[in-house]
Symmetry: C3
Subunit: 395 residues, 3 copies
């Protein structure tokens, strides 16, 4: 008699949870048991303390020291820099982009505000031809091209995920306003002072910690579902398909964080590298005193987390909800209160802060999880965390 | 051999219908026969005459003399006062709210117009903590708090039902513009001159007529459905759940019209008390000569009934359609022509005018009817009324 | 032994296809074989050459010389004239309509822009009473009435198909800006110089070529589906139902192109007459050098094809996507790239240009095809054309 060990693992999550958060460990264990190919890092700060610090390693890379690429989770980290500029009065969401970046006014774009551009409303998905790698890694080049582009939709008539270009826009706006690079400000004013284990521009000295991302493992049924989705979404069409792809093409392509040059540059759209601990810490430090005083005040948090767009996203073909860059919690992907702000990524990772529940949250699964965007397991884990907090507050 | 009388009643509706409206009585009878726990008042004016005046009493309170609380149906009555101010040139929908109410400008709200605020577009569902009863009953207190609040969404990016606060806003705007209370203007200029049997501020002398509201009786399947709905709606989250609840919590809570202090104050959001006759009369009198000349002219009716928002309501999680305060007829709840204006309530009641069909309509079921919002039976009854009118016009 | 010839035809499409487009002929043949009552004209220009020129005649009118009425396909032809005025700097999409047409400002309409009015956003479906035939054929009369009308919805709060009135608005705007009739400009500056076989105002001398439109042949199941649709759409209600109808009423009614006076006048909303060759040619000539230099430059094409409204159309009760007048390709009716612009009609015909694929496309089925709007078979044919082009470019 033989037993199969293909489906069920006997691994448990390693690491620690604080008192009252035992249910989080049990939930992660359950996920590990159900799928032996799955691993994950999970970290949660609550009231400025690290209360969950788990790594469930089934051998695919989520060991305690590992870091990896998290695609669009990076956008949230870039947005923390944008929030800093707003807090310092350097950037006004209601000013036209052209106020800061004169060339942007071309092609009927003079009235587009920073608010619209940074919430996927401007209709600038691309330029009609695929960007080359160097244009995104040195994004002033892509920015110059985009400045000459006419919006694909009349700004205000809808919104749709600017998968690549929103990073270009964040970086160019920071350049125009401060004369510096977004990644430098992140490094010097946010990351280094707090020793945050999440990088825009991954240092060579840390390379031994990088774990290669590997593609999703969808079932046959999921592949069929995904194929149907792709057919119906190829309408807005050719620009959208330039900026999006499936998990294999993301990893095989020129923008994969598995390429040293991509993660060395760390573009805000897709190039961040780090650990779940790093994600949880940076978000916790944004709204609480973690390794120093909180770096975003309440008024700034309200400004950048205020909902700017909600409903059917024409590019992603699912419901989305955006604040200023941040992907907000919403019925389809309910990860927190109406004040929560963060971003998920194509591989299933997510990082966010929830001022209402006073948490910073980081989660990175391995390999990339179907269907892309926040891993459904992460939503369950966020709910478990909220339930643990509720019980503690009631006790 | 025994027969069960649990499900089928032998009651018929009492009261009168005019010639050509017999089908309305038959339809109400059918509903009474199907459910012995159900009763209802139904009244319809057509061309300034009371053509339907029915009360189907299965013992739960809808006798001829009874009145009861109708929750959000009250909003439509408050809105009739708003319409009066517009008609008199005292209130301009396109002016910023801060023009009339200076403090309101706090927190990025200077540009919000009266039009947006009164059509659920401003993102001011609450203040993050539950209102206390006295803050709503003397709503200048709640208004002062709301003036200090930052909108939950960027005004214009979506709309969502302001279940409690739209009443506060109506009342505060009336205060700022006239120096008087909304309920006083309603009483003196609309209700008393026409002897309308619907009150914002229910008089002590009429207390013997008050019939207690009792909660819904959903089936197990309906309860399951409702529970699923609640889970998915807890995202925008904590503010929304402060302002909404299920039928038990509405009746048990501090804002229940079953509390004498609530119905004595008669807040425009949820505190009105009256009969179906009263509702039908006040709407008929708004658009026709009933107990005096019509009190709203055609131009004003067009202004307040013009659609301001339509589509998926993020708070209620169903499609809604709003004019200025009024909940308009729409595919999901089709009660009249594109010109119809009124409001339904959590217990299933509805009052409206339809200038196209020249009707005023009032309907109050007992007990509260699942699922909340306009009772599906009321929609059938409005259709029957329209069919009767069509036949009369063709005859 | 007998064989039935009721369902399957042995007809094949006549006409020619260029090398590499054989699959288009095979696809049209397949449709002809499946339904012996169906015929169609199909023409495609690619890179300024006529590469598909087919007519599949099962005896219902789509012979090589035939022309017929195509209802709303006419709107796209009218829109080509609007685009000409924009190109010449005579018309600014962001100016208020009242800038060009003073009377239009009545009833709170002073701020409505040309952009909004020409993309179904103004809420001016009608005037509450049905238009008479002469008011549409001499549309300055309908325009005068519409100028006095209050919008049914607050402009900007939604959009909905202005089936009849968008033609009136196009014609009146052209009158106000140029002092001439839209059809004259179309005839003199677009049609005649290129010998385009599509007319706004069908000449008497060509009458022998006119083939009568006949109504749809929906199955019982389709009729039931259609009836359900009608019930739910009668809400916005009475104005919408004045401007729309089913295929029998369209053909029996006063605006049918089967009436000589209608096609002689050629109103831009519904009165155009021509062949698929004509449609393909005029769109090909708009974006390429066909029978002369292209008549719309790239900047103008970007202006008029930019998406202005997308999502659920309240009047049609399906998803729609509009540029300036043009009905754009969209997930529900995917006929081309994000740059494609054209219009379909109640009988199933469609004409469009796709600058991305460099094609002009015309398709006219006979009889009218269920369910109205672009024939689903046309979408398959457009996909086949794109696949043929892709293969040629890859070869």
């Amino acid at each position: 008699m033989t037993t199969s060990n293909n489906l069920y693992s006997d691994r448990r999550a390693l690491g620690t949870v604080g008192q009252g958060f035992e249910a989080v460990r049990r939930q992660l264990d359950a996920f590990l048991l159900q799928d032996e190919g799955y691993s994950a890092q999970l970290a949660v700060y609550w009231k400025n303390e690290l209360v969950v610090d788990l790594f469930g390693d089934n051998g695919s890379g989520s060991d305690e020291q590992g870091v990896t690429g998290v695609f669009s989770v990076s956008k949230g980290i870039g947005a923390l820099v944008i929030a800093l500029l707003i807090q310092r009065g350097l950037l006004d969401l209601d000013k036209p982009v052209a106020h800061y970046w004169e060339d942007f006014g071309y092609g009927g774009k003079t009235a587009i505000t920073v608010r619209q551009l940074l919430s996927h409303q401007a209709g600038l998905l691309g330029t009609g031809t695929t960007f080359e790698q160097h244009e995104i890694l040195e994004s002033s080049k892509a920015a110059a091209k985009l400045a000459r582009t006419v919006p694909q939709w009349h700004p205000g008539s809808m919104f749709g995920y600017h998968a690549i270009t929103i990073g270009v826009f964040m970086e160019e706006i920071v350049r125009r306003v401060t004369g510096r690079e977004l990644r430098e400000i992140y490094e010097e004013e946010i990351r280094a002072p707090r020793q945050v284990d999440f990088y825009l521009g991954f240092p060579e000295a840390q390379e031994h910690r990088y774990r290669e991302l590997s593609p999703m493992r969808p079932t046959i049924a999921q592949q069929a579902e995904s194929y149907r989705g792709r057919v119906s979404s190829d309408t807005l069409g050719d620009l959208a398909s330039n900026t999006l792809g499936n998990s294999h093409s993301l990893l095989a392509g020129q923008f994969s964080p598995n390429l040293r040059e991509v993660r060395a540059a760390g573009p805000a759209a897709i190039g961040g590298v780090g650990s779940a601990r790093g994600l949880a810490k940076v978000y916790a430090a944004a709204i609480g005193d973690v390794a120093g005083p909180r770096f975003l005040d309440e008024a700034t948090v309200l400004k950048v987390t205020q909902q700017q767009a909600w409903g059917h996203d024409r590019v992603l073909d699912v419901d989305m909800c955006f604040g200023v860059v941040f992907a907000k919690s919403q019925p389809r992907a309910d990860y927190g209160s109406y004040l929560a702000f963060g971003h998920d990524g194509a591989g299933g990772a997510i990082g966010f802060a929830d001022p209402f529940h006073e948490i910073g949250f980081g989660y990175i699964p391995m390999p990339m999880q179907y269907p892309g965007g926040v891993d459904p397991k992460a939503l369950v884990l966020t709910r478990t965390v909220r339930e643990c907090i509720k019980r503690q507050l009631e006790a």
